[in-house]
């Protein structure tokens, strides 16, 4: 049997995932006097999508932007503004600058040129809402701030299940210790839990096919928080509307707005309507708001589309290369150098990347609370709010404060050792580890990806028949994998459980996509080609009830 570690870790607030949201949540909860543990599957100094940096932080400064309502208008039209509840967005806006000032005080350079500077991700002649900063050291700084406050960080600990008591409230979580090759189960007893496991990568095939870890966002983020939350009855939302990113082909990286150039076709003609000359203030926002330009132009033969920085002024080129370093794209800079690519005279092809879940996931209210008592969520895994790094920072802080307040008034007398989920998953993990033969986790992950791509993707349309078939195939795959998959060490066990999480989330995408009987954005239904205005601002939620998924509609707030 897979062993269970004897010591049950106890805390008031358990933070699952030590990315930007998780660390900000931990810091805020500790400041409120809570005993906090952060469990991270890697090491919080370099984990998650913000591992090596970021350079744009959505921030509202009254003297710069006018009223919060003015700011909200621009925010909602940006790449992160859709599918969100405005009341959460307003609460976020009000606290962005406070977080920025704290980061600056803690040693993250939020005004690298001596003043608050708003550049990039911007439309011409419009308000600029993204603060340019240098996030190279953000994970180390936030880790240090958490440790300074007495937060306990448990690295190499993927959390695989959230635990509730018979009343349905949070009492703990279960994870695996991957610090040794032989896996051991770790139990956490807590009064509240903040799920902050990031976006969901690896659900669809990467642009490099079988090379599935070539993703713009961190490929370690595989939907574990969403899956664990769903299994205990939390509502997920907005799963059915696909979301993509764009950037250099074939080296998938974030940072498209850090490039200072113009997106052009082979003849040097700009493909977007926004800019013809590159400037550091604007960049080319075409890459934010019109990802399909890359595939459309290849499909009709007028592609490819390139990022052309050859007309960028030398001082702006220096600014761009510095910005890529702040963004954490040092590997991209290294790869460009190793390939002898000279951006002052060569263009680099850009492409649309595969769909990921970001701003699609766990449903929260404006206090970052879910419908499960004691369960909070923040960061990229939230389904009805998105603001990337700033959203993680601010909503992480709010989640930490609220979870701490909840915990300080809560009791937890549950005996985790006898919790039914613990014995159930222990037997399953043991089976996976003991099988002498059978498919490995990569086969399951790739099998999920090909079904998602072919039946609920963006390359082909969606329809009742395609979606129903794909959903059936995922069920079949799950049954087979459950009975046959094998793992040889703790690392493989982690990856196998991630693949099962991806499969579960995939099924929920199919169900919600079937429910949305219209075309909306990249959710293109061949049997419902019309975008129904009556469904504007209408969200689909899904949650587990009596062991089965139930979808529902609601109006956005």
């Amino acid at each position: 049997m897979v062993e269970i570690k004897k010591e049950v870790r106890e805390c008031d607030v358990l933070v699952v995932g030590g990315g930007i949201a998780g660390l900000m949540a931990a810091i805020a909860a500790a400041d409120k006097g809570a005993k906090v543990i952060v469990a991270d599957k890697s090491d919080t100094r370099r984990s998650g999508s913000g591992a090596t940096g970021n350079d744009h932080f959505l921030c509202y400064i009254p003297e710069v932007h006018g009223t919060p309502e003015d700011f909200l208008v621009e925010f909602r039209e940006s790449m992160v503004g859709g599918n969100s509840d405005a009341k959460i967005q307003m609460k976020f806006i009000a606290r962005t600058f406070e977080c920025v000032k704290d980061w600056q005080r803690w040693g993250i350079d939020m005004k690298p040129h001596g003043q608050w500077e708003f550049n990039g991700h911007a439309f011409p002649e419009r308000m600029r809402i993204w603060l340019k900063y240098n996030g190279e050291n953000q994970k180390a700084v936030l880790t240090e701030q958490a440790l300074k406050r007495g937060v306990v960080i448990e690295n190499k600990t993927p959390i695989t299940e959230f635990l509730t008591d018979e009343t349905g409230k949070i009492v703990g979580a279960l994870g695996i210790d991957i610090a040794q090759l032989e896996p051991e189960i770790k139990l956490f007893k807590t009064k509240s839990l903040i799920s902050a496991t990031g976006n969901t990568s690896r659900l669809y095939p990467a642009i490099t096919g079988g090379w599935m870890f070539n993703t713009a966002h961190c490929p370690s983020n595989a939907g574990s928080g969403r899956a664990a939350a769903y299994k205990i009855g939390a509502e997920l939302v907005n799963l059915e509307i696909p979301n993509t990113h764009a950037g250099p082909k074939y080296f998938a990286r974030c940072g498209k707005a850090t490039w200072i150039g113009v997106l052009k076709d082979s003849q040097g003609k700009p493909v977007g309507p926004f800019v013809t000359k590159p400037t550091k203030e604007l960049g080319d926002i075409t890459a934010d708001v019109w990802h399909s330009v890359f595939t459309e132009k290849n499909q009709n033969g007028t592609g490819p589309v390139f990022m052309d920085c050859s007309e960028t002024a030398p001082e702006d080129m220096d600014y761009m290369m510095w910005g890529l370093k702040c963004e954490g794209d040092t590997a991209l800079i290294d790869a460009l150098e190793k390939q002898d690519i000279d951006l002052s005279r060569q263009m680099v092809e850009f492409t649309k990347y595969e769909p990921i879940l970001i701003g699609r996931g766990i449903q929260i209210d404006e206090n970052a609370a879910t419908n499960v008592a004691g369960l909070y969520a923040a960061g990229d895994e939230v389904g009805n709010f998105r603001s990337d790094i700033a959203g993680a920072a601010v909503m992480g802080r709010i989640a930490g404060e609220k979870a701490a307040e909840y915990s300080l008034n809560a009791e937890n007398s549950c005996n985790l050792a006898s919790h039914p989920t613990v014995s159930k998953v222990r037997s399953f993990y043991t089976e996976l580890m003991q099988r002498a033969s059978g498919p490995v986790w990569q086969e399951l992950n790739l099998a999920v990806q090909q079904i998602m791509h072919d039946y609920a993707g963006i390359t082909f349309v969606r329809s009742e028949t395609l979606l129903s078939a794909g959903l059936k195939y995922l069920h079949d795959l799950e049954k087979t994998a459950y009975k046959t998959l094998q793992c040889k060490d703790s690392h493989e066990l982690m990856r196998a459980l991630e693949a099962f999480d991806l499969l579960l989330i995939g099924k929920l995408i199919f169900l919600t996509a079937l429910e949305r009987k219209e075309t909306r954005g990249m959710h293109k239904r061949s049997d419902y080609t019309f975008t129904n205005p009556l469904l504007n601002g209408m969200f689909i939620t899904v949650k587990k009830e009596n062991d089965a998924p139930r979808t529902a509609w609601r109006k956005s707030d």
Partner: protein
Amino acid sequence: MPPVIDQKKCIKCAKCAQICCMDIFGPARVKEVPEIRYSEECWHCNACVLDCPVGAVTLRYPLPLMLLAKDAVLNSSAREGN
């Protein structure tokens, strides 16, 4: 495969194995040159290169990740010499 460790420079501190967000080295063990157990899972984030205290790590980029570049086309004003 992706991270390449210079065995002569490596001081066996295991920092790269500890901080790797993809756990491609498996368990971090000091006093051993890290073994890259799961190379195909490298994200090429460069953290191991940035954090190695002695500069013993470099990244090798797999061929499927090749960046695609071609000469820029001069715009009309540049072509006319304006």
